[in-house]
Amino acid sequence: MLFRSRLQLLLLMSPATLLLAMLTLYPISQILINAFSYVDYVGAERQFVGLDNFVELSEDWFFAGAIKNSLSFSVLASLLQVGLGLALAVLFDRQFTGRRFALPVIIYPMMLSTLVCSAIWRAWYHYDFGFLNNALLSLGLEPVQWLFDPDMALFSVMLVDIWQWTPMAFLIILAGLQSIPADIKDAALTDGARGWRRFRHITLPLIMPQVLLALLLRSIDTFKLFDKVYALTGGGPGNSTETLSLFIYKQGFKFFNLGLASAAALLMLAIACALSAVYAWRYVGAKS
């Protein structure tokens, strides 16, 4: 037994628990109180207003847009990143010429800071001088309004996120693939399972926990999307790329409307928990 008694275990855990309570539970409880209050930040006054902040949010066209943008970004981007990561992992699970050199290139974007990534892509997206439109023009195609077409902008931000974070999903899934015991692969081959059938019935079920873990991590991260939008579009054009994080940041830190920002943060937390619960439930289910 690792610990001599339950008391010793509790004693050892107490500093971490205390720290967690201070850093997590205290802010969450403050958000909970603020969400139902009008907070005058300057006068340090708080007045209970019941559901007023939530009513104001429900009537706010921009808040509704922010929820829609955050959810669509999170679901689409995380699915695409994991899908691409899976395809790359399957490719890199085999030996091929140049594999050793291709691997660092694949994971390189993940090592850049988000602001650097955004600056690179902002230049690539430039309508007149950007590399992407020049490439399209050289192929005889029309240039694309990457960042200023409201129907295109969120997808353009998503493309940057996919470029930067697909490597993370790829690494998690590759680790899963490489941990499959060789005898299972051999047994499958002996039984005549090859190609797609072997992948569908043997490999995929074995790496499902890693796939779900990658999905969970990426969906939590993409749901919080802030920095790329801040750097690339500022939430525009219109409200086409405004996310919940950006909305909360503006209300909380630009306008100091702490009640409204807390109510929005609480709703965001609830949505994030619900989103994570789906994956976590699937993950636990897959594990058991």
């Binding site: 300057v42 066209w61 007149d128 500022g234 219109g238 503006k250 630009k254 100091f256």
Partner: protein, 412 residues
Amino acid sequence: MLSRSALSLALTASLTLGAAGANAADLVIAGRDGIYGQALDATVARYKEAHPDMDIELLKLPYGSLYEKLVISLREKSGAYDLVLLDDTWATEFMGNGWLANLEEQGKVTGDFIAATLDISRYPVAEGPAYSLPIVGNVAMFAYNQALFDQYGLSKPANWDAVKVAAKTISAKNPDTSGVVFRGQKGNPIVTGFLPLFWAHGGVIVDDAGKPQVNSAQGVQALESFLELKQYAPKGIEVYNSTEVRDAIQQRKTAIAIEVWPSWAPSMDDPSQSKVVQEMQVMAAPGQVNGSSPMLGIWQMGVTADAKHDKNARDFLNYLTSADNQKTLALELGLPPTRRSVYTDKDVVAKYRWYPNQLEALEHGKARPRIKQWNEVESILGDYLQLAMIGQMDARTALDQANRKIDRALKR
């Protein structure tokens, strides 16, 4: 284990020493990055020559961070800063909350400050005592390419209708050149681009009774004019900010810029950066129903009410705003002055040919509404202006919705 303890000890010691070091400064200034930071750096260096024993700590922060840090620090009365640099739209909030010291409690502010720039340092505006001094004489100017205007037989635009005609003519005859350019990015950029046109058409953001009026008939007409201009602007104007506007002017890709700031102007005549050397005319924005209404963007500096080094702060502020220092900063860095005498100084005018026009624009300059919630009001207006610009709402609907939301924000 030992190394981890040593690391913790070193970290604690360095934090303690760092804090002690910060407290030991004789003057702490919270300022901006970029050209404002360079100007403060240069001034601090000169000031220290006369005060060699003085330890001055200068923080150079980006726009958004500066505001957030100042609000939190001043609200908490932390005494962290002695002097603070303020955008003029923050002034009402800072002065109204009692965060700045009255600079006239020991005597009137003297000097030849341009009246409009000093008015917004006073609380109540133009009437009360000064709580700050104007540091940077920023005013939104209007620029047009004289060579292109001559080529197409156009004369200096007398009003916004003439601007539209010129933009239409040039973009029709010269497909490589857009008729007009402005900052279309949502938030502060698009609002700043729109305001001179809005005011000239007779628009009012908040009336004397504090009620929002952005959706008045004049406001809607102004927005319709603005949207009309968009058809002569480059593709992607919705995300244009300063860099794109400056590039368009300097690369001769546009004939008119409805918004040019004094810090952008010198590079237009710099042959290493510009293809339009001596071609651009810089003037106050045209009028329409009302006269010219160039937007003021004065940066001010105030002494905090909880300053630990109040005397040093006031002395440095007087030095910073002196005519000699302003002249040096104008010549060395192109920082626009706030004193009349510097605008008429022959050395300065020889270097910056548009300074007489800039002085005129400053004298007719209009400040944004003196309300504590301006940040939020600007953001709301910026959101709806852009929705109109990308065609998701017509001008009337956008301004009606903006007005409703601004009303709610002002009541909060």
